[in-house]
Symmetry: C2
Subunit: 132 residues, 2 copies
DNA sequence: CATTACACTTAGCGTAGCTAACTAATAACT
DNA sequence: AGTTATTAGTTAGCTACGCTAAGTGTAATG
């Protein structure tokens, strides 16, 4: 499973880079886009990454206009992250490209196999989070 | 699936580092240990990585005594990589630690779910290789 | 022989992960 | 009120892993 995960990511990396989205950015961006506004700390948790790492990631993405910050009005220590339209669009574009890249491969799968993969992704996700 | 792969790797990274094996090293080492002696070029292919990347990886692992090189007698351009006893032992130890780390999580899965994950790993692996 | 092809290495760059140490704002305790 | 502790994020500095371009040495080929 571990080996499969590594090899899958190495393959997808090439597609991501074509539009300037690395794997780490793609993952973080999807949390912001689909999970609504998030604080930086929560995002680090969701991504299972240290504070400094998420800071650098966000800095680059903000510089590239993918998201923006907003201080919380009540607690001025916290910062809320939201995706810009450009960020949302780029994420969708990235997903589209992946699908296109894998389309030929996935087309050769049977519906039952696709369902199996979807179910496996959920299981893996829950394992990665420590199955609370 | 992509997101799940990233999160799984980030979680396992911590276990690997506890014994000084990164994900990339673990993956390459397993090819060498289970796939017998391999040439450097074949290893780069198996790992879907560029030449320089595999060279640097091997350099570090050789320095740490995990594997050794041997020039081919007939074609002196090629180098055969084999794992040292220490390398083999460390890989096994790494796998053991992973299992231990996930044991609690996996224990809560049903046999059918485990089978599903095993099947999914095969599918993902074949997709990552481009389903020839 | 000279050239071309092949296997691997070196050099140099960018991204992503970390810990330790810092700033700034809020909360908590005399 | 005034000090102290806690919390949110950032800065500094390190390691590892991915790449391309260019270099070295060996083998194959005209």
């Amino acid at each position: 499973m571990h080996s499969a995960a590594i090899h899958l990511l190495r393959r997808l990396r090439k597609q991501d880079e074509a539009i300037g989205l690395t794997a780490a950015r793609m993952s973080a961006l999807s949390v912001v886009v689909f999970g609504g506004p998030v604080t930086i700390g929560r995002l680090a948790e969701a991504e299972q990454v240290s504070g400094p790492t998420i800071t650098r990631l966000l800095a680059g993405m903000e510089r590239d206009g993918l998201l923006k910050r907003a201080r919380d009005a009540k607690d001025r220590r916290v910062i809320w992250i939201t995706a810009t339209p450009r960020g949302s669009r780029l994420l969708q574009e990235g997903r589209r490209r992946r699908v296109a890249a894998l389309a030929g491969d996935l087309a050769s799968l049977e519906p039952a196999e696709l369902a199996l993969l979807a179910r496996a992704a959920e299981l893996i996700e829950s394992i990665a989070r420590g199955r609370p």
